[in-house]
Amino acid sequence: MNTWMYVLKELEHAVYLCETNAKCDDEECTSPDMVHPWDKSVAFYAGGQIKQPIGDGYLLYHLAQKKCGEFKTCIAEGNTQMAMANQLVFNFFNAGRDKLLEGQCGEARKHFNSIIVQMTVPLVQGILLHAHRQSYQNVRLEKDLAEGATYAASLLPIVHNCSAPDATIVYTNMRVGNGGTADYSAVRAALERNYKCMGLTCADVGGLVDSVTGEYMQYAAPCADESTAQMENIDKVNAKESGSTSTTSTTGGSGIKVGPDVGKAVGITVGVVVGLVLIAFIVSRKRDMREYDGYADSEVA
């Protein structure tokens, strides 16, 4: 809650310095430019304990990494998995830094706003996770209830800014002391009604996955919106490009294309399987023909 806000404070401070052509007045500044607070923000976001693959960590980067595994919103990054939210946040960190240095303050502010959106993703995921546990998984341990309440506390002001009644629904279900009675459907609906206002898409949030089966849990598949339709369209294009009808690659809600190699691999696999089936069919037909010929010969004899 505190670090989350402080990350944004530093970013907004940097944008302000850019917009007013001011010098960094922070006592910590080592050089008088607006990139310094932007850098600090990155540090507070990432921390010094980042490890790949998803490993130890304490701050917001780690939180997003952890949640992406639970909501199928990780994307391949080399040999590791990275939360789509983290990927986007760092894209925006870099792009924003460049815009600040170029003096394009309006563009830097756009990147700042985009970072806010992606930083809400793990909070939404945390609320959904704990609401689902209470509603459908009978998980009502005090520790889990407290975690759910804290995720809610970290997001409620933003939901409230969009819709006070929906914030009340989320609060009532997730508050400290709710006794584990959260109504997942109500919480999810209240949040989803405000995705657009918060700048989120269904693809950003993903769906809650059963860690054993890898399938979406009951009532927890991703919601559908333009982002998921966009995902399907891009998947189709990828499949077509790879000569396959499979749809296994995925994209982020912000339109970032990921996993084209997966499409190619599936295409090759499908091609090989089809080839094998054809060979088996031809061999089978030839054997049938030989048997028929033999049978016909014996009949004639």
Partner: protein
């Protein structure tokens, strides 16, 4: 003199390895876990960095994560540089207090109730397990992760490199 070899454990997002703060974090980590107070650190892709650090002299406890919240009014509401900040105002408008994060944690520690405008929390019924859950989530982690992890190397190390790689 100690010579350390580190690689920046931050692969993917393109060129994030160049973020100096992560470099500083690594440097500090070496101090925290007990490496020598002077030496050099090789950081993948960035070169060698020599440092000097006196633990007793150069460690300041002047900051805390609690300060993120208790100084929020000063830093995000009433400052002269762009205040009030837009996102902070959403939180202030909702909770009705400036240090909502601090009050949240203190209420949890004391097993009492908050007195916010909205979104109150009553921790009186919580045991230690609930408090553990509270502190393992972002709110709690935010409070207890020492900010000095970032700051000390930034200000207190004497890096021999004349130019510290900046964020570019």
């Amino acid at each position: 003199m100690t010579r350390l070899r580190c690689c920046v454990p931050f692969r993917a997002p393109r060129s994030q390895c160049s973020f100096p703060w992560i470099v500083f974090g690594l440097l500090l980590l070496s101090f925290v876990i007990g490496f020598a107070t002077s030496g050099s650190v090789e950081i993948g892709g960035l070169g060698m960095f020599e440092y000097n650090y006196e633990v007793l002299k150069d460690t300041y406890n002047e900051r805390s994560l609690q300060g993120f919240s208790t100084k929020a009014q000063e830093k995000m509401y009433a400052c002269d540089t762009g205040c009030p900040y837009s996102t902070y105002m959403k939180f202030y408008n909702y909770y009705g207090v400036f240090d909502y994060g601090n009050q949240w944690i203190l209420a949890a520690l004391n097993k009492t109730q908050t007195s916010f405008k909205n979104g109150n929390a009553d921790f009186s019924g919580y045991g230690m397990a609930g408090l553990a859950g509270e502190f393992s989530t972002p709110c709690g982690v935010s409070h207890y992760f020492p900010r000095s992890h970032f700051r000390v190397p930034h200000e207190s190390c004497s890096l021999s490199h004349s130019v510290i790689p900046r964020n570019k």
